[in-house]
Amino acid sequence: MAYLDGELRVEQATAVAAHLGNCSDCQRLAADLKQVSEALMSWEIEPASDEIAPAVATALDRSEAKDVQPHKVRPRFSSSRRIWPWVFGVPIAGLALLLLFIGVAPRSFSHRAAGPVPPMQYQYPAVGESLVPDRARSAPGVAADSNGLFHGLGDHARNSFSVDGQPITDQQSKAFSNQPPAGLPATRPPAPMIARTADITLTARDFAKTRAALDEILRRRQGYMGQLNVRTPTEGSRSLTATLRVSADQLDPALADLRTLGRVQSESQSGEEVSAQYVDLEARLQNARNTEERLTALLRQQTGKLSDVLAVETESSRVRGEIESMEAEKKLLDTRITFATLNVTISEEFKAQIKMVPDSIVSRFRNAAIDGYQSAISGLIAFLLFLVAYGPSLLLWTAIVFPPIWLLWKRWRRERAKAA
């Protein structure tokens, strides 16, 4: 495909062209893709007007009238007058750093010092901060040497590895690294990532006022409404169920605000720790990105068959799809952690309504008459259905059973009459 778009380097394009001459499958695919491009070109657009639109002409005139000084593109290298500060400044800064290095390094790392080795200034993420690297503070800046011992990075001039001008040994470094930094907070484990959820059920006296107050609370706590359902039955009290999303640190204040809206029937909170899930997702994402990079490298140096190239492209496309899916999942997790979910149910206090005027007696009689007529008709129809459904069976059994019974009865009457 890149070959058809002219995006390959010369040597790659030559190899692809040579392959296409021999592979019918690839020729078919190339022909299909070319056909698609040709089909796309059939969608023509009417030409635009050649004249400059009035609005654009007016803007041009206005910009000319203002006589705006053009923004001069600064050349990459300054004029000679700007170079001189750099010419003198850089060596002076370097000299200053060197003096600092010479002055500080022996005192910091001398093994003849009586006291403990001065601490390195590590920075740990503060309590409550998440594991996400872009939210943590700057990394401690340590690196492991070949023995796996950690040394400080960054400000190498101050934390150098020299003693009396000689590089310190790993033993000295180990002794140094194993000492806890003084005056700094103890090592804290990274803060867990929690997706918080809260449920609260309230009964309110003034439903409309409570509804308005809910919006106000959302606005104040910088949240948003995820879902809202309001029921307003003709008889009975109104109710509302809503799913609110508020910033995680605003959950408790939001709950406190909601409690003032009415009588709390029930309340619960829960937190789902997603740290492991998040870390796993990040690891899988990184792996997928590495795989994508390797596939890209393969594509760049690919000189084999076009079908292999296409196979790598297909795989690359699949991996890209996975990456995008994982990135979306990560964004969703971030949202769940950043925004807590608050499920709110508010019901109005039930107030029975007195009907001052009873339903009309005439209409009640009318309704009863209609009901009676309908039930009579239903009964008749049911009887007729019964006859239709069971009539034939009844007739049959009557025909079978009745004659013998009738004969017996007649004989019995005759014998009675004779006896009489």
């Binding site: 778009d5 796309l40 635009a48 050649d50 053009p70």
Partner: protein, 194 residues
């Protein structure tokens, strides 16, 4: 001063315009008004809206002329502005319920001939992001690296989306092509073109 603006590069014309040359802008306008109009015309329903958006692009160029620096191709710069205007227009259309027809900014189909209606419908079936990459490649003729820079995605994503969208379009177009062939070839057996 350029001897002939017609042969000057886009970036040099823009710098000339920045220095105050109206003729340089006229040349840029004549080069890009058509392509920008085509860009918008294929993405919004109304021709008038497309024209307005193309004008807005040039207005943005005029307003930003003093801050322009030739870091990338002018073409990429222009289409970058055009994309931002298109997104803003789509967001505005979503907020206005009356104009629901333009919410997804599907390709215009009101007055297109029948031959392209099925093509536009096939394009509309594509995933939105894939569709944008495909259209930038096929209609705006941007290179992979330009598309990557414009949409702020890796170049491999451009390749994979292009491949995906073209194969998807091929599958969408195939039944239509068969139907059109069998309708068009009256008296023939109307066999499968494949």
């Amino acid at each position: 001063m350029m001897s002939s603006y017609e042969t000057a590069s886009d970036e040099s014309l823009m710098l000339e315009f920045q220095a105050g040359s109206r003729v340089a802008f006229d040349e840029l306008y004549s080069r890009y008004n058509g392509p920008l109009y085509g860009f918008f015309r294929r993405r919004v329903q109304s021709p008038q809206r497309a024209e307005d958006l193309a004008q807005d692009t040039f207005l943005a160029v005029i307003r930003g002329a003093t801050r322009y620096e030739p870091r990338a191709l002018l073409r990429t710069y222009l289409y970058g502005i055009a994309l931002k205007l298109l997104m803003a227009d789509r967001r505005q259309q979503r907020r206005e319920p009356a104009s629901t027809l333009e919410i997804t900014a599907e390709p215009s189909a009101n007055h297109a001939p029948e031959t392209t209606l099925w093509l536009q419908q096939a394009i509309a079936k594509l995933d939105e992001t894939d569709r944008e990459v495909l259209m930038l490649r096929e209609y705006e003729q941007l290179s992979y690296s330009e598309i990557a820079e414009l949409l702020r995605i890796p170049i491999n994503t451009v390749r994979s989306r292009l491949f995906r969208s073209r194969t998807a379009l091929r599958d969408h177009l195939r039944p239509e092509q068969r139907n059109r062939t069998s309708i068009g070839t009256l008296g023939n057996t109307g066999g499968d073109q494949d």
